[in-house]
Symmetry: C2
Amino acid sequence: MVQLGDIDRSDPRPPYQQIAGMLRSAIESGTLEPGARLPSEAALMENFGVARMTARQAIQELRGEGLVIPEHGRGVFVRPMPPVRRLASDRFARRHRDAGKAAFIAEADKAGYQPGVDRIEISRTTATETIAERLRLPAGDEVLVRDRRYLANGRPVEVATSYLPIAIADGTPIEEPDPGPGGIYARLEEAGHTLARFSEEVGARMPTPDERTALEIGPGIPVLTVVRTAYDVNDLAVEVCDTVKVAPAYLLEYDVPAQ
Amino acid sequence: MVQLGDIDRSDPRPPYQQIAGMLRSAIESGTLEPGARLPSEAALMENFGVARMTARQAIQELRGEGLVIPEHGRGVFVRPMPPVRRLASDRFARRHRDAGKAAFIAEADKAGYQPGVDRIEISRTTATETIAERLRLPAGDEVLVRDRRYLANGRPVEVATSYLPIAIADGTPIEEPDPGPGGIYARLEEAGHTLARFSEEVGARMPTPDERTALEIGPGIPVLTVVRTAYDVNDLAVEVCDTVKVAPAYLLEYDVPAQ
DNA sequence: AAGTGGTCTAGACCACTCG
DNA sequence: GAGTGGTCTAGACCACTTT
């Protein structure tokens, strides 16, 4: 196995933190490459002369930092970093739609990874208070809901839920799982809702258990939340899109004018 | 203590997850208010008839989600949510500087909390490759570094490091801990660098141990990273500001034109 | 079958907080 | 001193993966 040091009994840190520190160093220095297997719990017990729970606690530290992922029956592995998706502030520019590409596809082309969308679900519900407020609808109005999951190189990186007023989406391809070239924004513009601007609210938090499952991430990996509202040239809110992204896979770029 | 259910032996989830789930429900429903103490480990052992490590593992789940914070010798408490700072995309508008307010102060006034800045440190170093690239300087050029920590209601919420080319900052109040009314952006404009635009890169990750200390947060709380570059009307990069924010304390707002 | 991690038990001693 | 969480031990049985 990888050569690690020994526990220093004079070190004020408890043994499990020392072990975690040595493993962390090995990961950060590249001695343990992304995808490599950590020493097994049994190996750590023998190497450091500790009980199993102590070895596990050391690994637990690294899990909490998102550095490693355990795989039942196989071992604990150094987390391979997903490809970073840089989202430029022009990602919803009309020229991408005119070229027949939805925003996600346009950006995948540029960054050079294989995009994918699955689990598309269309439904209708009454708007929650929050959604109604953002769409400036009376609370309780019916809205179209588009749920989907985005993949990069086959790995889930984002789940998104769009809400549109029924009055706008009714009878359009927006109600279809595949809304056609350019995505739903192209369809909105065809329906006369020429888009003027978007407003985005960005936050970050730990994922809920449901989100962990959908995004296939363990605990210790935060998510970025982006709530986007699209407005047409008449300043009508035509869509609210609620997205949850695997944080390490994203960098969001924005341009802010000084005035 | 708070009344919780019992473990369901037919539930496929292990006992510790069931216990964590019940505590999570109690927190989300408000039965356990922010700041309230969770049942002690001894109480959980008795209530559910489990061993101590099982009770601890349940609490560990909630720690990983950032829902609770343990305090040695006192108990485990429901994390009080810090006041959320909504950062509007106009927070660097000139009118705020003209009113003599730095961006942080202007926004605190609006949101109604007590702002604060401490640990201001000024130094000079040679630019790292990344910083030099952002400032479009030759690698190895000297830069002015402004380090500081921001507080809201006395609690740390953000650490920020600004880098400015020496050629721009040399001999100006920007080298002082307190650069005067309107902050360093006001001084830059007085020096002829009228600001035209900012570019921001937003990401999120788990904090390093150093950042955890500086921001006084435990593990389980993610941070938002924002790297802002300021450009003047001649498209000269005049400042790069690297910030690390306590994620639950922030919501960033951006306006994106459709074209 | 052997090796891995996942869960659990029943204890122990320690450090910290509070009355 | 009593109550709290922090750390550790030495076992046990289970579920999953690989050979």
